[in-house]
Each structure stands twice: as C-alpha cells, then as structure tokens.
Symmetry: C2
C-alpha cells in the first residue's frame, strides 16, 4: 500500500489534506465546503465527545437541544452580535418543493415562501436566550448550566477539512448566573476544562489567555481561549469561552428576582469546541509516514498481526493472539487482531502505521518457538522483541509512555518555536522566516494590532493569563506596555 503524499517539508498544506483523506478521516462532499466525516475519523470524534461530555457533567452541566433554525430578526437583537458576527449564513426562504412542470425532477415551490426567513444556526446564543427568558424568573432558577451538541453552518469562502468547513459539529455551553463574579468563574472554569482536555487527552500543549478586543466574540465582554502551535509554526485556536456580561440578557430581556427581591439582568457565558479539534489533533502529532494518534483518543490502540506462511501456523498464532487480545481488553485497551488472509503482513504494517495505531504487535512462527513477540511503537517507530509473558503489562506501560512522549515532543516543539522579540525588524523577520509564537510588547490599541496584521499577517493570538507583568515598549509603536502578548500567524 503506497500512500503517495508529500512530506510536511515539501508542502505542509497538501500533506495535511492528503493525510485526512487517505487515512479515512474525512472527505469533501457534493456540497461546497461541507465534509463527510468517515467512520475512522468519526470514531475519534466520538472518543473526544465522550471525554468532554463527562467533564461537562462532572462540572454540573446538563445537555439539552435547541432548534437548528433561527428567525432572522433574532440576529438583530444584540447590537454588537449583529454588528460583529459574520453575515455568511445559510438562509432558508421556502418550505416546499414540487414536481417540475417538465416532469424532470423537482423545483422550489414559489408559493411556499416563508414570511420571515430562517437562518441555520451559526451559533445559538440568540435562540437560547430567547428560550431562557421563559426558564428564568428567580434566583432559584440559577445557575442554569446547559450544553448542546449540535451542527452549525457558517458559509465559509475558503474551507479546509476539519479546520474550516461550512457545516461543522461542536458543543456550545450556555450558562446563566446571578452574579458577574460567578459568570466569570464559569468562563474560566470551562477554559480550564478545555486546556485539561487538550493537554491530557490530545497530548497537545496550549496557552491559556484572553483575546484582544479585535479578536473577541461578537457580543462578549471577554473571550478566553486556548491556543496551540502546529508543526508549520502557525497557531490554532482550539477552544473559546466567553464571558457575555449582561448583553444577551438585555437583548432578550431576561431578568430574575434576586434573593434581595430585586429584578436584575442575568449574567451569561458561552463556550465551545468543535470538529476543528480533529484538525488540531492530526496536525499536532502526525509525521511523513502518516497519522500519529495519542493512545487515549485512538479508536484502536493496539493491533496484532500474525506472520505466517501456512494455515497451521496461523492457527497456532491465533491461539496466542486471541488470548493476548483478551488480556489487553481486560485492561480496557482496545485491540484489533487482523487475521485477514486477503492482505499480506507488509501491507498491514504500512496500513496501521499510516492510520496511527499507537502499538503494533507481530507474532511469527519463530516467536511461538521462543515465546516472544515484536512490539513496535508508532511515535518513535522503534521495534523491540520481548518475552510474551506478561506482555499486556508492558504494552499498557508503553501506551502511557507514548501518550506522555507525544505531549513532551509537542511541548519541546512549542518551546523551540517561541521567540521573545523586542524590535520591529526582528518581529518581521521571525514572523516571516521562522514562524511560531512571538512574545512581544504591544501598546494595547486596536490600531496597532491592525497595522501589525496588515504588514505581517500576524495577529494577537492571546494575552496570557499567567503572563508576568513586565515593563516594555510596544514592538510597533514604541509606546509603553506592561505585558508581553503572543503574536502568530494563525489558522
């Protein structure tokens, strides 16, 4: 199986796109910008969902479901939301087809025009706050901690599988609180959940911080984010959590009677991650030989491949393999024993390497004689032969090592590609020639941020939350600054 695709060095963008398609993660569909998520890719998304869903529930949230379609007028209710949110939305105008007069298929029935157009949700703040108005009367109804798993549509002009698609899958949390303090705590708590998920499960280190006003979500008072660094030196926003103040409560008139018997507007947050995380996961670890998946999110963690010439050998190997499979499964490890006779071992080795299966075990006739087994790691490509006795413990340990190694490798990469820069010439040079995160002083104005973006395409990815205060001069304007911020070109 020759997977003909470029190296990262040759063409990073093409490497990514080919990898996604050839590893059976996703593909483009007949509808512009909408992808099909294939079973292997979807299995990873399901693992992500399961972990995140449990984290949301452990922090007190419940799931619910709100309509896909939103009346157009709702988008006009919150001023900065309507002003700032992209207008590229799918618009439903009719509700019926009819047989075409020429007898060839169907046409839109012009008699079935909606009085008010409906928008396919690009995000659900408006319809949810319209609903919360009915759910919230008293402080006893608060906090309201709700999450939704859903599809959303944003009519993107340039799309890339997982990273930017017209339709994508995500979760959106929408919470309501009695106090500002509690809402801010919630926004920060969910950012921590996202960071923990990225680092512990995806093995992907992230910077936590807030967005500059330019990059803030339309309607938010503060946007928190996690930012990861990809192997091409570009930043990827992996999740956001918004403190919405009372903006949506005011737009949709959601008030509650406080303990002190006063009518007050409710405080809000919203937070989300999407199938974009799939793109981040693929780009964070994979190499020129194919996918590399962290064991904790790999649908198949271990594959066992028999090496044999004669049927009798396969029978003998199978006995050992099936026992081993059960021993590994008993430890909660997902295992595939690939005893198909339609493919040769060499083909299988390539296939599973390409698909990023963390550990490959191979057993041949000589192994049977010697009581050994070959263990190959996908992350380091190292192969080693071990005694088969208690190999399940060894494999379990190796899976943990791989998970840890992938994180450390990504962390080292980020450290190697984070540059502290103090002059404008150096800034331009680093952004253009090295890439990565650039830590530089900024005067705090949108004007300067815009100019930097215009000249270099770099934007402020985040203002670090744990950033130490440091006096300095803006790398562009020379005006005073008291903290470095993180610049980068971004996905």
């Amino acid at each position: 199986m020759a997977k003909n695709f470029p190296t990262r060095e040759e063409n990073y963008a093409q490497w990514y796109n080919d990898l996604v398609i050839k590893a059976d993660m996703a593909e483009n569909s007949a509808v512009r910008g909408c992808m099909v998520i294939k079973p292997y890719g979807y299995a990873i998304w399901e693992k992500m969902q399961a972990v995140l869903d449990k984290m949301f529930k452990d922090t007190g949230h419940m799931n619910a479901y709100f309509p896909l379609l939103i009346p157009k007028s709702f988008f006009s209710k919150e001023a900065s939301h309507v002003e700032g949110f992209a207008k590229e939305c799918a618009v439903v105008t009719h509700y019926r087809l009819k047989n075409s007069p020429d007898g060839k298929g169907v046409v839109v029935d012009e008699d079935a025009k909606l009085e008010e157009e409906l928008i396919i949700r690009p995000t659900s703040e408006t319809i949810i706050w319209d609903t919360y108005k009915k759910w919230i009367q008293s402080y006893r109804d608060l906090p309201l901690l709700v999450n939704q798993w859903a599809n959303v549509v944003r009519w993107e002009m340039r799309t890339r599988l997982f990273l930017r698609t017209t339709e994508f899958l995500w979760q959106e949390g929408h919470t309501a609180h009695a106090t500002k303090k509690e809402a801010i705590e919630e926004s920060e708590k969910m950012l921590d959940v996202y960071a923990e998920f990225a680092e512990k499960w995806m093995a992907m280190p992230v910077l936590k911080g807030v967005k500059s006003p330019n990059e803030r979500f339309a309607g938010a008072v503060e946007t928190y984010c996690i930012e990861a660094l990809m192997q091409d030196g570009k930043a990827l926003q992996a999740g956001t959590s918004h403190f919405l103040g009372q903006n949506f409560a005011k737009a949709f008139d959601v008030k509650f009677l406080s303990k002190e018997n006063k009518l007050e507007y409710v405080w809000a947050t919203s937070w989300g991650v999407s199938t974009r995380l799939m793109g981040a996961l693929i780009m964070a670890h994979s190499d020129d030989k194919g996918l590399v998946l962290p064991p904790k999110l790999a649908p198949v963690q271990v594959v066992i491949i028999p090496i044999y010439r004669k049927e009798e050998q396969l029978a003998e190997i199978s006995k050992v393999a099936v026992k081993l499979k059960e021993a590994l499964q008993a430890k909660g490890i997902s295992v595939k024993f690939d005893d198909r006779d339609t493919y040769k071992p060499g083909w299988k080795f390539n296939e599973y390497e390409f698909k990023g299966i963390p550990v490959r075990l191979a057993i041949g006739p000589r192994d049977l004689e010697n009581g050994t087994i070959e263990v190959a790691r996908r992350d380091t490509l190292e192969k080693e032969t071990y005694q088969i006795t208690d190999i399940e413990n060894k494999v379990e340990h190796i899976l943990e090592q791989i998970q840890d190694n992938l994180y450390q490798k990504a962390l080292s990469f980020r450290e190697d590609n984070t540059h502290v820069v103090d002059s404008w010439d150096e800034f331009k040079d680093v952004i253009e020639n090295k890439g990565g995160f650039v830590l530089a002083h900024w005067d705090g104005t949108s004007e300067t941020e815009d100019k930097i973006k215009a000249e270099t395409k770099a934007t402020i990815r985040t203002i670090p939350m744990d950033g130490k205060s440091e006096e300095g001069a803006c790398v562009y304007s020379g005006k005073p600054s008291n903290q470095r911020v993180v610049f980068a070109k971004a996905y």
Copy 2:
C-alpha cells in the same frame, strides 16, 4: 406544586401535551414546529441513544457523519423516492445576510443567491449513496455498515411535541451489501434490534411486520416496522427498517466487482428511529398523576427525601441517606438525595411523582429510631415500610419489578384492545367506538386500503411477520385473503 392538567379521560391530546411541557421534557420554540428538548427530556434521549448505539456497534456498525444540506438535484435521481417522498422541505436559497439599509438589523443579501438550492436533509439516502459511490468498488468493501446520529427537517403542517415536529433528532443506518439475501437479513436484524429495544428498555410491546405498499417508504422494496399501541387506542409507528433493493445503487450508479469478477449493483438497507420514541415512551406508561418512566431509561431511578423539622434531624438523616445513596450507586443505580431546604417534603413528593421517578425513599426521625425506611413505587403508587438493612438489594429488586410490571401492563392493555373482526359493520364500530388494533382480512389491494382509510381513517399498520396463514374474506370487498392484517387509527 399543583400541576393543573386534564386527565387522559377528559382530553387525551391535551393531557399528553401538558405532561410533556409541565414535566420539563420539551416545549415549543420560537420557530414554528421546532421544539426545544429540555435537560430532563434530553437526559432520557441520551439514555436511549447510548443503549441503541451499543446495540448498533454490537451488530457491527460504525458511526459517520454526512452533510446537513443536500443539492436539490439529488432528489430527482431516484424516481419513486422523488415521487413518493413528501415535498415539504426546508430550502436554502441564499448564503449571506447584510446590514439593512435603514440600520435596523439584517436582511437577506440578494446578491448571495445559490446557483442550485440546497435542501435540509429530510432523510439522507441520496447524499449517502452519492458518497458510497466513491467508497465501494469491490466485494472487499462490502458490507458497508454505517449509522448516523443527526437532525432532520420535514416541514410538517400539524406538529405535536416529539410525535411530529419540523426538526427532529434521529439515527439513520445506511448499509450496502453484495447480495439481496444479505440486505434482507440486515433489514430484519435491525428490526429485531428495534423491537428488543422497545420491549426490554422502553417496556413497550410492539408488533413486528411489514408495511403495505401504500405505507412503504418512498424508494423501498419492503418496509419493516414496529408498531405500538397507545393508551388512547391509536397506533404509533416506533421504528422502520427498509430493504431498498438496488434502487439507490442504480440511481447513484454504485456498482462493485464481485468475487466472480462481475460488475453488479449494490444492495441496500436503511433504518431509523427518532425522538418520536420519546413521545411513545411518555404515552405508553404515564398516568393522570404525571410521567411514569421505566427504570432502565429513567435519568434518576431513585430519589431519597428527608423528612425533618429541625436541622439536627436533617444532619442525622443525611448520614444515613448518603450512605444509602452510595450503596445504591455501587449497584449502578442513579440516585438523587434531595436535601434542599427551599422545598417541603410534600412538594418534593409531588414533584418526583410527576416527573416519573420510579422509586421514592423517605426517611424521617421515627425511621431513624426504628431502623426503617419508606419505599414508594411510582408505577403502582404503593408505599411500604421496610427495615433499612440491605435495603439496596430490595430497591434493586423493586426496580426490576417495575420494569417488568410496566411491560406486562402495556401488554395486557394491548391484548385487551386487539379485536378480531370479520364484518364491515363490526370493523367500523370497533374503529369508531373502541379503537385499538383490529385484525381483519384484506384483499391485498391499495384500492381497498384507500377506501377503508377514506371511510374510517384506519390504515394498515402492519402485516404481521409471524402472522399465521388463515383463509378468509376481505372485510371490505369480500374477496379472498390468506392472512389477517393489523388495522388502526394512527399517530
């Protein structure tokens, strides 16, 4: 908490609607016909999903995700699909909004008109078979066993929460096979999965059978279904599984190279259940006091309520209650200990009765003295006091009894409301005055079925699969028939 709503006797339709809303299952949204599924309702749907998803995976299926939007032209490709499928669909015609010239909100940007309109999927056969064309080349690619969890939109004129909504949630399985036999086996296997889910988890007995040609899915060669009987004597179609023959393979030109090296069209099935099951679950068991949920699908199976006057009493009761909660949880039982001091025990009793919590445990100061506990069953409304020692085993057993009792009760109801009818007068009388399932002979023609429907509103719900052959005369036309079929008025 007075839940003011009619009895089933007074107004069954209103009873159902009020129950759904007042028990916090779902509510109508700002968008005509689209519902909001509230957290308590959604928690039940999540349980249903988890069980079904495991059943699908245990039968070899994997999940994937296909686009929400389908090009209009796809609907013209399969002749009977386009002819028979309802034309009431949401049509996307534009992809951008813009600020309105008067500065008040947004309007549709007429410059952003799509060349070809997109339809929000009412079902996904067309887009999936367009995709399968790329996935299937050889018999080695078969069978292809894929399921999708998704939202779909059908522009229904008359909607009812869960039972018929413009947008609903469902799963749709779409499989491809090398032979007709294998595809038929798959359709029947998935019908069995649905029937097992309905009976073992929802405690709802169902009839298995096939649809008459009139009621068949547009594009199917055979439609299998499960039909349940509701308390008002109307039938509810709870799930369908379609053998699609080679219809979609031919429409989308999906061929494979067989083992014999011949190019052949692929054989197909599709099968689905939806949030309609929520409506069935609610109607199957609930009573005039509120929801009744089968323990296996209840988000909270046991609630513990402390009865106390003084704080010290609550402290003592809490010790016992927390220990009991842990003992129940160790058995995999979901428990809520409601120690809120903002509500009185009487209010809580009513609340949990209304919400259908299967078992309620109450502990007061006297119970502490005597080492006892009061156990109340939601299904029978019986209360009994037991020694608290080993009560967790007793509760576990009672939950099983409730699950079984609900099924038996629903089965008796169905038996009591199934009528064998041999004359047209009796048929009309039973349909009009008694309701329920009517077993009658039918001559096998669509013409007769149409006439019966026109005169009585009853349709053939199913032709039983295990129906014994029996010679007879059609109840309407008097023509010969060799099997009774099941008629009813239906949701």
